[in-house]
Symmetry: C2
Subunit: 302 residues, 2 copies
Amino acid sequence: MTDDAKQIIGFFKGLQDEICSGLESLDQGNYFREDLWDRDGGGGGRTRIFTGDIIEKGGVNFSAVHGPMPEKIAAALKVPANDFLATGVSIVLHPANPFVPIIHMNVRYFETSVGKWWFGGGIDLTPHYVIADDARYFHQALKDTCDKHDLSYYPAYKRWADDYFFIKHRDETRGIGGIFFDRLSSDDTMDRMDVFSFVQDVGQTFLPTYLELANRNRHKAYTEKHQLWQRLRRGRYVEFNLVWDRGTKFGLDTNGRTESILMSLPPMASWEYDHQVITGSPEAYTLQQLVKDIDWVSHKTK
Amino acid sequence: MTDDAKQIIGFFKGLQDEICSGLESLDQGNYFREDLWDRDGGGGGRTRIFTGDIIEKGGVNFSAVHGPMPEKIAAALKVPANDFLATGVSIVLHPANPFVPIIHMNVRYFETSVGKWWFGGGIDLTPHYVIADDARYFHQALKDTCDKHDLSYYPAYKRWADDYFFIKHRDETRGIGGIFFDRLSSDDTMDRMDVFSFVQDVGQTFLPTYLELANRNRHKAYTEKHQLWQRLRRGRYVEFNLVWDRGTKFGLDTNGRTESILMSLPPMASWEYDHQVITGSPEAYTLQQLVKDIDWVSHKTK
């Protein structure tokens, strides 16, 4: 393991701690449950699960696994099987109030003993109800973080998120996107510590941005009708994660820790045959926004 | 399309009608909603969806699609791209009472214009609570149907179901299995009309068997605790269907009709991190039965 890797692992652990504390401060009186686990073959993780009042179900997971690379992993990653290290932080939060959005973040680092390395990650938002001001705020925060490093990042990684978080069989995006990037490495003539610096900033964008979005919406009144819609949207979240998400598939295929991987699934989800929304309703508005290439940063509210 | 195919299509349509009537008689005052759909390229289907008191959500779908075979389908099926016909009936029923099991049936026929043909199908049961007498009754009914045709069918197709309906990332079967078979064809030195006769009997085993299981259990009292367990088991059903089921994957990958394919998903499902059951409880007993190779037919109740 490189010295850089040790530093990266240290940062990811600290990030997990910081985000967990922040969410406990938001959702007062509720605390993360922590499960420490070891991986046969090397390394392990700290799975932290939250069941609260504002966050109905959430996971903020850290892991750092290493050792000889299993053949299945080498094949999936298309790299020669050497010793490897994979470390990262993964977060999914399912809020109780349907007007508070679901959020997902992942930051990850990978290296092999023959000198290959890369970073990946991103943050994306899945509102049950799209609220244009919130979407603009969210994308502006990501753009600000990206722009500090390279003006080309936000447009490129925003597009990547639109393409990645896409539910093909529904022809709709999972939510309003965000940023997504993968395998940022020396192959892209990037310097490891420069990319790390960017990934650190992405990681640190998560907490203040989500706290703002949660605080804007968590006191809004809702009814059973809104909760049904929330469950239906959570159903789409399940569809994306189980059918299309490469990270989930990779984890389940390579004997990852199932309970940690599937912490992303909602506490309750519904499926109705051919559910129809009422023209002009907030639900209809939401569906109209679940398309690629909306320029949220310069979006004008209707 | 062969004359045999026309006969098979006719049988499948009649089977759908018969099963729908039978379920409407069970769950009185509730009726199937029918959506007729056409496929670009040829053929179409009759999707029938039920929302009732005993069956909370169910689908009994017929389809017969034909035309030039899309490349993606040819690749997935590993056959040369010729004109094809695919027809079948697919059923999934999610009952309201947690003591009534989820059931799935599929019978299907496929042929190409160059003379290739095969049948596939099966029936399997996913009890939220495994009840040994019901499991024995169910497997005995399937064995009786199989034995009328060939004594080798039940053991072979029972094993196939155990292997197919397996949630690998949970190391548990989806339910108590049943029978499953695929690509029964002239390659297995089988006669088309003989296999058809078997498939007809399988199709006709469905209704009386499920009515018996529903009537045995539908009046049992249950509480919220049982409903939570039901939702968790439905969550596993979702995991199997979206992660592992080749039929679902095939449908979603080849631009099948999403709403018809995903009628299999439950009305409501839950995920809890690392849910634990109480030793000695009916929930713990159920989990113990979700393993391959239980000989239900000769099973002694404890």
